[in-house]
């Protein structure tokens, strides 16, 4: 019994990018949004600190500064045309969210409030600039809720708790997706003229991560299986401040509000590594600084963590030392009540998971796997491109964390992820609808579901000698230990081998739940298969890039090498092996120079 649905545009994923794409595509074409989670469960909702835009509501700021900061933050691997495009669109994007009702915090004048964030600077003074538009420390939650609400208002078609399994390609064009309806276990074919992937990242391949369980690289893996390339997969962001052991995110906004990092000796250490912006350097810089402190024996209690300190007396002391002032020129101060008002969720997380009250105590933190800079290659309109000449794959689009435009290059600046998904979600939606209105449906093969069905059959028919949970645990450890913040040839060779070994063992897994209704066992096992595919590509690409750039730090090649490596990696999976190609970085105004914060 075939369930066939026909839509002009199908969006896969209902986080910020998927909802924005769905909202815009549905204005011009018949659109469906399918998501493995209820839309409001999506991981956009976990984003905390803010969305970047040079509104200049509290001090002078310009899109050009935002552009330069993003280029510099990317360690010159971001494509400058796309970055400029995003930063120019940022102001209207944030205003549009406000017009949709998003409850941003306000300045005394009633404008959208903004806070400083890592790597965002006044380009003339080099000092941090207030660019992150925020709604307490739940900006992502507000974006997700607002966009979902606007989709309801505009009657967007949702298929909640439908997991996309396979992209359908006919005559070299996207022709739809096959998905499983979790509540019934039935397969559904979504026949479409255009498909937008907004499937999120894959941080769950790492042991310590801020990412949701759902972040398993489904979109990336689905395209790999179709022979399409992924871009810059070696670039993965480790956020400096995750809750020790758990990896739960502590927003950079804590440092934006004046918090500082403290080592086991009670010393503030960031001025050593970033003399100008100190604790508000780029995330890759701060994460490496923390690891260096730990390696050199200055972790807290001799262990592998340090402290984040936002106690008002510390904030006031260091703000005075830094000469930080309020917009009116008075010295910067903060009270315990203000900390609580500005960072309520952070306080709550620390109390619940650590039994620590950040207003009076230090927070134990360690870097946590956080964001996928690489992904499905696209141009700035969200069109998927498949080679070094940026040839467009007809009918296929990607946006948000699963995509690599590339605006983040080697290292994403905080607040640019939310900006990315709003800007490129919108443009992919517009572009997909335009395209769908110009073309006809491709004719589907007789049994469109065959590929999806056979993927599931394989998972049901393994020998059962291996346990998926154990394989996942090992993969996460291998990736975190061997392809983490600091990397070297020996470790990564070992990682590639180990991941391949795990892929072999994965073939022996058998799903124990034989039912149809909410078979989460089957779904989680399928997701593990995706993670293993993505992990292999990441390890391979990281081993291949013999330089240090952004989040990719090699002990054996500690310097950036623009001569040989100022280029994007493209990686394909062919005949069971990863093959590598390259494409040039788009450089418009900013020639690479040494990156100092």
């Amino acid at each position: 019994m075939a369930n066939i649905h026909q839509f002009d545009v199908v969006v896969v994923g209902a986080g910020g990018a998927g909802l924005m794409a769905g909202l815009y595509a549905s204005r011009g074409a018949k659109t469906a949004v399918i998501s493995k989670l209820y839309p409001t469960r999506s991981h956009t909702g976990a984003a905390q600190g803010g969305i970047g835009a040079a509104l200049g509501n509290l001090e002078e700021d310009k899109p050009e500064w935002h552009t330069y900061d993003t280029v510099k933050g990317s360690d010159y691997l971001g494509d400058q045309d796309a970055i400029e495009f995003m930063c120019n669109e940022a102001i209207d994007a944030v205003l549009e969210l406000e017009h949709m009702g998003l409850p941003f915090d306000r300045t005394p004048e009633g404008r959208i409030s903004q806070r400083p964030f890592g790597g965002h600077t006044n380009n003339e003074t080099g000092k941090p600039v207030r660019r992150a538009a925020h709604a307490a420390d739940r900006t992502g939650h507000m974006i997700l809720q607002t966009l979902y609400q606007q989709c309801l208002k505009n009657k967007v078609n949702f298929f909640d708790e439908y997991q996309a399994l396979e992209l359908l390609i006919v005559n070299g064009k996207a022709a739809g997706v096959v998905a499983v309806e979790l509540a019934t276990g039935e397969l559904h074919t979504f026949h479409a003229k255009a498909v937008i992937f907004a499937t999120g990242g894959h941080g769950r391949i790492f042991e310590v991560t801020s990412n949701a369980y759902a972040y398993t690289g489904d979109g990336a893996a689905m395209l790999l299986r179709k022979g399409l390339p992924l871009e810059d997969m070696e670039f993965f962001q480790f956020h400096p401040t995750g809750i020790y052991k758990l990896g739960i995110l502590i927003t950079e906004g804590v440092r934006g509000e004046g918090g500082v990092l403290i080592n086991g000796k009670g010393e503030r250490f960031m001025p050593k590594y970033a003399p100008t912006v100190k604790d508000l350097a780029s995330r890759d810089v701060v994460s490496r600084a923390i690891y260096t402190e730990i390696r050199e024996g200055r972790g807290a209690n001799g262990s592998n963590y340090v402290y984040l300190d936002v106690r008002p007396e510390s904030v006031i002391k260091y703000a005075a030392l830094d000469g930080r002032t309020n917009p009116d020129g008075s010295p910067y101060t903060i009270t315990g009540e203000e900390v609580l008002a500005k960072l309520p969720d952070i306080i709550d997380f620390c109390r619940v998971y650590l039994g620590v009250d950040p207003v009076t105590q230090l927070m134990p933190i360690q870097p946590t796997a956080h964001y996928t800079m690489g992904g499905i290659p696209t141009n700035k309109y969200g069109e998927v491109v498949i080679d070094d000449k940026n040839t467009v794959f007809p009918g296929l689009y990607a946006a948000g964390e699963c995509a690599c435009v590339s605006v983040h290059g080697g290292n994403r600046l905080g607040t640019n992820s939310l900006l990315d998904l709003v800007v490129f979600g919108k443009h992919s939606g517009i572009k997909a609808a335009e395209y769908a209105n110009q073309v006809d449906f491709q004719e589907l093969p007789g049994d469109a579901e065959a590929g999806a069905r056979s993927q599931f059959d394989t998972l049901r028919n393994g020998s059962g000698k291996e346990n998926a949970f154990d394989i996942a645990t090992e993969m996460k450890k291998v990736m975190f230990d061997l392809v983490g913040i600091y990397r070297n040839e020996k470790d990564m060779r070992s990682a590639v081998e180990k991941v391949r070994g795990l892929q072999e063992r994965f073939k022996q897994v058998r799903v124990t739940d034989t039912g149809r209704i909410f078979n989460t066992d089957l779904l989680n096992t399928w997701e593990l298969g995706n993670m293993l595919e993505v992990a292999e590509v990441i390890a391979h690409c990281a081993l291949n890039r013999k330089e240090s750039r952004g989040g990719h730090s090699r002990e054996d090649y500690p310097e950036r090498d623009d001569q040989n490596w100022l280029k994007h990696t493209l990686a394909w999976k062919k005949d069971g092996n990863v093959s590598i190609g390259y494409k040039p970085v788009v450089i418009t105004k900013y020639q690479p120079k040494k990156r100092v914060y």
Binding site: A46, E109, G515, F518
Partner: protein
């Protein structure tokens, strides 16, 4: 140490009736209840079914009844609930399988209160944001925290007795918009809430407030809605 985990089980494809299974597993005081469920699923019984995603209390997937009270499984630690732990699905929504309930009625109620910003007036002439004072913004801050986990609605005896009652979560959403100075549809929403299955069904039991993992003072918010209805004012 070892904890005893008693879990509600029901597989509609096999079981005629629900039952409980008990598992003894190794745990630490700081383990989340969600971690324990994952351990059971990973190593003891892969068929155990539950929803989860963010694992730190912001996505709202894993609201469950733990030792008789609604919590998020990812925001509740062993040390919070002791070593004998009973985990059951939310009450008042149909169980689909094990700990997974049918959320459709819950979201349908949410959709009834016009859960979206409505302002049809022209945008500011400069194209910038609509202005809102920090005080006006603070007026509805509390209810913007809602993650739609349903812990409140499914702890409400009035909802258990009458599933047509909009329930606390939908009312929280209504509050978020009604008290937003930029929104223009407060009177339409108050009209909806004044119907039989609106705020009148709230009997100030406070279960919702106790259950909310986001610490929203829900009963107070509903009280403000009632007051607005009586006085016609949004102070």
């Amino acid at each position: 140490m070892e904890v005893t985990l008693k879990i509600f089980r029901y597989n509609p494809e096999v079981d005629k009736k629900w039952h409980y299974e008990t598992y003894s597993i190794e745990a630490e005081e700081t383990d989340r209840i969600l971690d324990l469920l994952e351990k059971v699923k990973g190593h003891v019984d892969g068929t155990l079914s539950f929803r989860r995603s963010c694992a730190h209390g912001v996505c709202g997937s894993d609201a469950l009844r733990i030792n008789g009270r609604n919590y998020l499984a990812c925001k509740t630690l062993v040390r919070d609930v002791g070593h004998k732990i009973t985990v059951e699905p939310l009450l008042g929504l149909k169980v689909i399988k094990d700990l997974i309930v049918d959320m459709e009625p819950f979201f349908n109620n949410y959709k009834k209160v016009l859960p979206y910003f409505i302002n049809e007036s022209p945008l500011p002439a400069d194209g910038k944001e609509r202005l809102q004072s920090p005080e006006d913004r603070a007026r509805f801050d509390e209810t913007t925290k809602c993650i739609l986990c349903a812990a409140c609605t499914t702890s409400c005896p009035s909802y258990w007795g009458n599933e047509s009652y909009l329930g606390p979560a939908a009312l929280v959403t209504a509050h978020r918009f009604i008290f937003d100075s930029r929104d223009e549809a407060a009177s339409q929403r108050l009209e909806i809430l004044s119907e039989t299955n609106g705020v009148a069904r709230c009997h100030t039991i406070f279960n919702c407030t106790m259950a909310c993992p986001r610490d929203i003072k829900i009963t107070k918010a509903i009280g403000e809605l009632k007051m607005a209805m009586v006085t016609g004012k949004l102070d």
